[in-house]
């Protein structure tokens, strides 16, 4: 029985790790695909407001045909939901995943499952389109197939791991929910906000650039974000350095190595489930020699805003920027 448990755990962990690494590798391979999808998709609809029936190619090269403008939408991923709401189409969302928390309205919307989807519930909601996600394809292929068998249109949104791909997913969702103008506007606004952050932080002198260490999970298994993560990209935008920039993707770091890296700022993203995230860091033995601890420069940011590839990435970036360079934002 013990064995069984261990096997189960290993399987879970493996799934978790593979999930993570898949995201990374998907990221490397994805851009070209996405752009081609994007092109074919936009060719279909160039010029006018989506004309029905509308055929769009999704992130896994499925052709999704919508007979008319969808009035009932089920979103299987919080980022899809957030984008749909940001496009002012939130009133059409009739089902969301268990993990959905934003905006507040989603709390009153029917839940269709978290890691595993309840196909029956989704079918009973009678959606015109289901917004799936590339990262779900591996784990929930059967469920998605069943939905398609039930004649429900499933549009798989690309698994964005950088800001540019996020813009593409916003435009894609804009097409599906018939809000292309809003999507364009949203992308323009996000670009402007990011440009503003970049502009403000560009005043930082080279020698004042801060090195930042992200903590995705608390001690003892301290995971951090290396290259090819949103967190890393957000740091680049705000002119800060990722202390773990030599690493790739999401990795568990040796605490000794963190002390040696000696980051000037530590930012945790686990405040939502750890009571005192800052105390968690400062109370660690041996961390008192780390600059971030000695200078009390430890902050917690909302993990959703920095991990969900949606409109709130800007908020996450701003929160990080204000934590890292408070002096630049006080003046405003």
């Amino acid at each position: 029985m013990k064995k069984f448990l261990q096997v189960l755990l290993l399987a879970l962990l493996a799934g978790f790790l593979i999930g993570c690494s898949n995201n990374d590798s998907a990221d490397e391979g994805a851009p070209d695909e996405n752009t081609t999808n994007e092109e074919t998709a936009s060719e279909d609809t160039d010029g006018e407001d989506s004309a029905y029936p509308l055929t769009i190619t999704d992130a896994i090269d499925n052709e999704v045909t919508l007979e008319e403008e969808p009035e009932r939408i089920v979103s299987l991923m919080p980022s899809n939901t957030e984008i749909t709401f940001a496009l002012d189409q939130g009133d059409k969302v009739v089902g969301v995943s268990d993990n959905d928390t934003y905006p507040e309205e989603v709390l009153d919307i029917d839940k269709v499952g978290g890691m595993e989807f309840n196909v029956e519930v989704i079918i009973s909601l009678d959606p015109d389109v289901v917004l799936a996600h590339e990262s779900l394809v591996a784990s929930s292929q059967e469920a998605l197939d069943q939905l398609e068998d039930a004649d429900i249109e499933v549009f798989t949104v690309a698994d964005a791991t950088d800001v540019d791909t996020t813009y593409e997913t916003i435009e894609n969702i804009g097409q599906v929910v018939n809000a292309e103008e809003e999507a364009e506007q949203l992308v323009t606004d996000m670009q402007a906000d990011f440009a503003e952050l970049e502009e403000i932080t560009s005043e930082v002198a080279e020698e004042d650039r801060q090195s930042v260490f992200f903590e995705i999970s608390p001690s003892p298994e301290i995971y951090t974000a290396g290259q090819n993560t949103f967190l890393d990209e957000l740091l680049q935008i705000i002119h800060a350095d990722n202390a773990a920039g030599d690493q790739e993707g999401w990795v568990e770091m040796d605490p000794e190595a963190i002390i040696e890296l000696n980051p000037e700022v530590i930012i945790s993203t686990y405040g939502s489930y750890v009571e005192d995230p800052i105390g968690e860091v400062t109370s660690r033995d041996g961390f008192d020699t780390v600059d971030a601890v000695a200078n009390e420069r430890i902050y917690d940011v909302d993990s959703d805003t920095v991990s969900r590839p949606g409109p709130r990435l800007v908020d996450g970036a701003r929160e990080i920027a204000e934590a890292v360079y408070p002096e630049l934002f006080d003046e405003e």
Partner: protein, 343 residues
């Protein structure tokens, strides 16, 4: 018959050399003379002299040293408990987790993480505290239950009871995992086992249990020898089988419970180290138990060292390394021994 002196000298040499390497090597390598200076200044308040980076002091004294010592204590606890259980239950597949103690300790720990429990004055030690508490509760229930269904507490009854409790408690853990959200990674990380970032307090938590449990088992080595001929023979040899059995089961379970409470479920050590020690140095429990302590400690220190250096600065779960390193080593010893016998 190899001489006892040789057995202990070689085992201790293994333990001491792994300790020295493990303290010196890591994400940051600290030369051994510097380590001696650091320990001298931290423990005996000797002047440290110039040229020692304060970060090195933090790393060696606050992080690496307690980690290495904790790994040693956990390895020792699991190995001696495994050796005693295998002897007592006359079952080569017995490991310290066989009585469901580790599942009990895990339920305590996983519930702490899941419900985010924090007992005011215990703070971050709530987890090991509740874990040990539920381990002790599990031992008592399991032994009580085994006694209830079979007054003489035959080996089969004990193993069966253990398996029933393991699977029951295991299903509770699976249930919690199924219900869990953001703490999933924490819970799985804990269940996979680790001695990282525990600090000196955890060393203090496990040490008394190791001393008490270890001494209890070491006092019963002759009885274990007698019982390996079968319980009836042992009874004829003047061993109070029932009482001793209870004592050994309780002591082994305490050791296991404390080890799981401070480090999670680290597999393989408790199963294989006793076998390995037996194959190398013979089945006499008088020497098997102390040698298992030394070998178990050295083995876990070594595997923990590998887990944090193989892909440094990233780390791997130590439980993965114990089996990855342990299984081939064990297979090699089995084959070698077979060849020697064949000649």
């Amino acid at each position: 018959m190899k001489s006892n002196l040789l057995k202990y000298t070689l085992s201790l040499a293994f333990l001491i050399s792994t300790m020295l390497i493990a303290i010196s090597v890591g994400s940051v390598s600290v030369p051994i003379p510097e380590i001696i200076k650091i320990i001298g200044s931290e423990v005996f308040h000797l002047p440290i002299g110039d040229g020692v980076d304060p970060k090195s002091i933090s790393i060696v004294y606050d992080i690496r040293l307690p980690r290495v010592i904790l790994a040693g204590l956990v390895g020792a606890s699991l190995a001696i408990a495994g050796a005693a259980f295998q002897g007592l239950l006359r079952n080569p597949l017995a490991d310290p987790y066989i009585l469901g103690v580790s599942s009990g300790a895990s339920v305590g720990a996983v519930s702490t993480l899941f419900f985010n429990i924090s007992i005011p004055f215990l703070g971050m030690y709530t987890l090991p505290f509740l874990s040990i508490l539920s381990a002790l509760a599990t031992i008592m229930i399991v032994l009580f239950f085994a006694k209830k269904i079979d007054k003489t507490m035959r080996v089969e009854s004990i193993i069966l009871t253990g398996i029933i409790f393991s699977s029951f408690l295991g299903s509770i853990i699976s249930l919690i995992i199924a219900l869990t959200g953001e703490e999933l990674q924490q819970i799985i990380g804990w269940l996979l086992g680790s001695v990282s970032m525990r600090g000196w307090k955890y060393v203090g938590i496990i040490l008394p249990f190791l001393i008490v449990g270890g001494l209890l088992l070491l006092m019963n080595t002759r009885e274990l020898n007698a019982m390996s001929f079968g319980e009836e023979r042992a009874q004829h040899l003047g061993v109070d089988v029932e009482k001793r059995k209870m004592l050994i089961l309780a002591a082994g379970s305490i050791l296991t419970g404390a080890a799981v409470a401070v480090s999670g479920t680290i597999g393989f050590v408790g199963l294989v180290i006793p076998h390995l020690t037996r194959k190398l140095w013979g089945p006499d429990h008088i020497h098997l138990l102390p040698l298992s302590i030394i070998t178990g400690a050295g083995f876990l220190i070594l595997t923990d060292l590998l887990s944090r250096t193989i892909i440094s600065p990233q780390v791997l779960p130590v439980g993965v390394i114990t089996a990855l390193v342990g299984a081939p080593v064990f297979a090699m010893i089995l084959i070698k021994q077979k060849k020697e016998k064949g000649r």
